[in-house]
């Protein structure tokens, strides 16, 4: 969270916008988004046939556009959206459009401080990565861009892109390799059958992907260099948070899934399924969603599965700040449950968003949904009023307060609540 120390942690409650009024004022109001610091709320609104604008707090952008979509706040609080003018697309930032127009633009990404805004663009059927209005030059023509990421400092951009054109039903060309990774506009030397799971280390130094070498052969590439080992299948790799030379990924061998670090299998047990390996903040522990048996899901920490299992699924594990506790959202018999260290906490919900730990680990706070209303739940128990719309709670840097942003009776409130009160 950018600049979180300087956010307003003092005002107990601010009513920042009456979104109910938007509904009277405009033909249609889309779902709202808020800025990271909770100070702004925005919705795309329809003001007439083929005419849209964005309502932000009490005002709107000056100029309406034919189409607007993908409104997202940059971490520095600027509001971006993708818009059309005369059938051409571009990025608008706080209502001001980039100069360059594009055949298409999508997939907005931000640097951690929000100063850098990047997106994938298409001009004259050529694809590119555009960063703060400047499209990176690429020595080869990119046929398509599947996904792109930028480093937290915004200095490195990387994308999975098709670097070789293919004719219709060109099986040979495909198997020779037509996909690669483009880093700051420069493609890697080799092309691959397929490239998946693009991941960048926090420091932006290393880039890892999964690649497919032939019909049933997969591996991991780190900065163009493949692991020596190949596998029957892989899932997306993750970096050690402190040591960007350590890369871990789920790999499939002999009909089972294992966890491998830098090519070597590190967990003794194989699983029916293994997803979302996650390092603790200090990097000393790894947790992952696993199915020790078919349709029995749980979390394994350092290879040891919890004894409790869930029949439907389990999502990405989440470590407490000190790395001692692990929380995850699981689904069993149609209900979503919060699970911490192998025990279900509190009640079942219709939906649970990603959990947040209090600094001393004793509280797990989540946004939950029950009977069409949203609420904040602490350790699986609803503690706050029902909201029509609600965002994930944010714990203050000193760990004493929580910011809760939500819409009640059409009014958007930003509240700061002492942690001890919830």
């Amino acid at each position: 969270m950018f600049n979180i120390e300087s956010w307003d942690w003092e005002s107990k409650e601010k009513m920042l916008a009456d979104t109910a009024k938007w509904k009277d004022k405009f033909e249609d109001v889309w779902e709202p988004y808020i800025s990271q610091d909770g100070e702004k709320i925005a919705s795309i609104v329809k003001i007439g046939e083929g005419e849209h604008n964005i309502a932000v707090n009490e005002g709107t952008w000056e100029e309406p556009f034919e189409k607007i979509w993908y409104s997202r706040f940059s971490p520095d609080g600027r509001l971006t959206a993708l818009i059309t003018k005369d059938m051409e697309w571009t990025m608008a930032v706080d209502g001001k459009t980039w100069e360059q127009m594009y055949e298409y633009i999508w997939d907005t990404k931000f640097s951690a401080d929000g100063k850098i805004i990047a997106a994938t663009t298409k001009v004259d059927s050529v694809y590119g990565i555009t960063i703060n209005e400047k499209t990176l030059e690429c020595p080869v023509q990119l046929e398509s861009i599947a996904s792109h990421v930028i480093s937290p400092d915004g200095k490195i951009s990387a994308a999975i892109a098709q670097t070789v054109p293919l004719g219709q039903a060109d099986l040979d060309g495909f198997l020779k390799g037509s996909w690669s990774v483009v880093v700051n506009g420069k493609p890697w030397k080799n092309n691959f059958v397929d490239v998946y799971g693009l991941t960048m280390s926090n420091d932006g130094k290393n880039i890892a992907v999964e690649y497919r070498d032939s019909i049933c052969e997969y591996g991991i590439l780190v900065n163009e260099k493949p692991w020596n080992e190949k596998f029957a299948c892989t899932w997306e790799p993750v970096f050690h948070p402190k040591n960007s030379d350590e890369i871990t990924a789920p790999v499939r061998q002999w009909g089972q899934w294992f966890l491998a670090t830098n090519g070597r299998i590190v967990w003794d047990n194989g699983f029916y399924s293994l997803l979302y390996p996650t390092y603790s903040p200090d990097g000393n522990n790894i947790a992952a969603a696993v199915a020790p048996q078919f349709a029995k899901w749980t979390i394994a920490v350092n290879g040891q599965p919890w004894s409790v299992t869930f029949g439907e699924c389990i999502q990405k594990p989440c470590f407490s700040p000190d790395g001692r506790k692990v929380a995850a959202i699981a689904k069993d018999k149609g209900n979503w449950l919060l699970v911490v260290d192998g025990a279900v906490l509190g009640e079942a919900f219709d939906n649970i968003w990603e959990p947040v730990f209090s600094p001393n680990d004793d509280k797990v706070i989540c946004k939950v949904e029950k009977n069409g209303k949203y609420a904040i739940a602490v350790n699986g128990k609803i503690r706050r009023n029902d909201y029509e719309a609600l965002w994930n709670p944010v714990v203050s840097p000193d760990g004493t307060k929580v910011m809760i942003c939500g819409v009640e009776d059409g009014k958007y409130y930003r509240k700061v609540v002492p942690l001890s009160d919830i």
Binding site: K67, W106, A146, L171, A232, R252, F294
Partner: protein, 447 residues
């Protein structure tokens, strides 16, 4: 055992011919034994050891029945000519044999599972056919166009090489089209927390974009809270499941189901497609270790049934004249939606003429199971082998055949062309758009 007498017109499939020239016997032996030993278990063993060679499955198969009871098309023959030989010879077979295996399993069987239903032992012959396909896929012996489709899934996570921007652009265009009928209609992209994520198969944005406009209108009239993803994961189809490339199948299904989880929806509603339902509801989740998809998936038939039955959608004027419907194997025989299909057909048609046989006993359109995706080289035999179903259609005297499945749609169009039936082929949603009531307040204002 004497070899089966097989009479076929030669078919040129470049990919298979090249693969035949390339494959070595060592490679073949290795892959066959690997798949049999490592990827199969109790089911295959028991099926092989239980089959008493009674031949009763033959009568279940439209390939056999449509080809004047040519023995080489009978389900049991298809196993005899593939797995029995592989098992007996412990994988020591040649490339020509593998090519024939691919021809049998990919192009001459729809994995419709009718024969399994007619086997006194319940031997799932279609499962064994998929084991054969798996072996072929690992060896690269897959018909050209089917393999190309699988490559599309692998590279783009959709069936039709649709690029990320083309997908979003198409949805935005179809939203405008829908607003022509219902000005307030919206196709909400990436709306986290919506009730429904609607997913479709690749050919919809590529060739049948109006279907996306139709659903936008239907959702608005029904007053539902829905969304579509603006990222890969929107395509619910899966030809990798049918080529035998299960790793790609799983990757596609995982992304589809994780997209629904990311969007925090309560359910996925999918368009009218049968194999996609199979992949998303059953084959994909099974490989991933999910008993059922983490976010439940509802097929269009069940979805429209709920909308009509609950009165969310009212029928203003039923469609006139006799209309029949194909029963897509993957949502009827293999998902039990037959009575719901009859309900919605009767609700929108004045004169719904049922097929005989109907429901789970109905015959396949002969396009399913990936066969139509094997492309032009294999079209002639496919249409020729749908003779039986062409006669069943003809007997109904209908002016329109409804196909709540994309494969059926294309397959039945080929049948209508090939046998000069002079019938229209439509999706159910196309009938619904014609027949449903658009409330006054949603209609365009008169200028």
């Amino acid at each position: 055992m004497k070899p089966t007498i097989v009479k076929r017109e030669p078919v040129v499939d470049e990919a298979m011919d090249q693969c035949e020239a390339r494959l070595t016997e060592e490679e073949i032996e290795k892959v066959i034994n690997e798949v049999i030993d490592k990827e199969t278990g109790g089911r295959l063993w028991t099926y092989i050891n239980t089959c008493i060679h009674c031949g009763l499955c033959a009568e279940a198969c439209h390939w056999y029945l449509s080809n004047d009871r040519d023995v080489s098309f009978a389900p049991v023959t298809k196993i005899k000519d593939t797995l029995w030989v592989m098992l007996e010879k412990k994988g020591k077979v040649d490339a020509a044999f593998i090519k024939r295996c691919s021809q049998i399993s990919h192009t001459e069987c729809n994995a419709c599972r009718r024969c399994g239903m007619y086997c006194p032992f319940g031997i799932d012959i279609a499962y064994m056919i998929l084991v054969v396909r798996r072996i072929c896929a690992k060896l690269g012996m897959v018909p050209l166009y089917l393999q190309d489709t699988v490559h599309s899934h692998a590279a783009t996570m959709n069936q039709m090489w649709v690029k990320p921007d083309e997908w979003i652009d198409t949805l935005q265009w179809q939203e405008e089209e829908a607003q022509g009928y219902v000005p307030s209609a919206r196709l909400p992209l990436e709306k986290e927390g919506a009730e429904i994520m609607y997913s479709v198969i690749g050919p919809e944005p590529k060739f049948l974009a109006q279907l996306l406009g139709n659903i936008t209108v239907i959702m608005k009239v029904a007053g539902l809270d829905w969304t579509m993803p603006a990222t890969a994961g929107w395509d619910n189809s899966n030809m990798a499941m049918y080529s035998g490339d299960f790793e790609i199948m799983a990757r596609v299904e995982r992304l589809h189901h994780e997209t629904a989880q990311r969007l925090k929806v309560k359910k996925i509603v999918m368009g009218e497609c049968g194999h996609a339902f199979r992949g998303a509801e059953y084959d994909g989740p099974t490989w991933m270790g999910w008993m059922k998809p983490p976010i439940p998936i509802v097929h269009a038939i069940a979805f429209y049934y709920d909308l009509i039955k609950s009165g969310r959608i009212k029928i203003a004027k039923k469609i006139e004249g006799p209309i029949t419907s194909q029963y897509p194997c993957n949502v009827i025989r293999n998902a039990g939606l037959g009575s719901k299909l009859r309900y919605i057909m009767s609700a929108v048609c004045e004169d719904f003429v049922d097929l005989i046989p109907n429901d789970r006993h109905a015959f396949c359109c002969n396009a399913g199971g990936g066969t139509i995706n094997c492309g032009p080289p294999w079209k002639k035999i496919r249409v020729q082998s749908a003779k039986l179903q062409s006669e069943n259609f003809k007997r109904t005297g209908a002016h329109t055949i409804v196909t709540p499945c994309h494969n059926c749609h294309s397959g039945v169009e080929d049948i209508v062309d090939g046998y000069k039936l002079g019938m229209h082929v439509k999706f159910f949603s196309e009938l619904l758009i014609e027949a449903m009531e658009i409330p006054e307040h949603l209609k365009p204002k008169e200028e």
